[in-house]
Symmetry: C2
Subunit: 154 residues, 2 copies
């Protein structure tokens, strides 16, 4: 199996996973510290989706660290197929969560102008959570494409 930048068990792959984990955790932190988030289904969904992202990326980061320390090859077709499916599902859910949240943020800040008075809604925190979710999605999309390329080029 060919080895690319970001493949499972490589340093770049591990850094990608850690980045996904950090940005997803940052998005959750920004959202749960924002007052009134629980009134919005999309914001609760963002937290659930980013939680799944953290679990998935943290698990794979641990696997990468294990492969790097024991110098074992974890690029078997069965494992890569599992990574492809998991990465595709989490990346789609992350993009969906980031977009539905930013749809509401744009509605409140641009269409309804509810964010002009900062005491009403913590819009800056909602925006920060959406931006961090987009960055986490971008990193998982990179991982997802690398995995799919590795699987297809076997």
């Amino acid at each position: 199996m060919k080895v690319f930048v970001g493949s499972p068990g490589s340093v770049s792959g591990m850094l990608l996973r850690i980045g996904q984990c950090l940005f997803a955790a940052g998005s959750i932190a920004a959202m749960v510290t924002a007052f009134g988030f629980s009134n919005f289904t999309a914001f609760c969904y963002l937290i659930a989706s980013m939680g799944l992202q953290v679990l998935w990326s943290f698990g794979l980061a641990c696997l990468d660290i294990y492969a790097l320390t024991t110098k074992r090859d974890i690029c078997s077709p069965v494992l890569v197929s599992l990574f492809v499916v998991g990465d595709w599902v989490t990346s789609t859910l992350s993009l969906a969560a980031a977009c539905s949240s930013s749809g509401i943020v744009v509605l409140y800040s641009r269409d309804l102008k509810f964010c002009n008075d900062p005491s009403q809604l913590p819009c800056v925190r909602y925006e920060l959570a959406a931006v961090l979710a987009f960055i986490a999605w971008f990193l998982i999309a990179i991982s997802s494409h690398i995995m799919f390329w590795i699987l297809a080029s076997v």
Copy 2:
């Protein structure tokens, strides 16, 4: 280059493109006939994104029909690379548009209960537009994965 179900220049590929075109056009039709859509940035973005989807899928459907009638092979690496990039961009934009619109639909119907009185907002049409956009995204995601697989397995 290997030939799969849904490859460019095949009957299944052409049917996929026509399906994408029809569902995206249906989503635009449902949205533009819904009163007050222009007050929402996300709904305007849905129309723009689905418009791009219609143009892209219609162009590729025409190319498939041309390849089928003249029996020419259009699976060259350069063309497939172009299809991969175009499919990836349109599928990401379609999913983003479908999710941001459905985020607002869920906010109005579930969180704010604005849809209980149908005279206020045409929620059914908004929901229909979002569902059709999700189906169009699902079809373009299939095409996108087939193209990526063809390119990677060269």
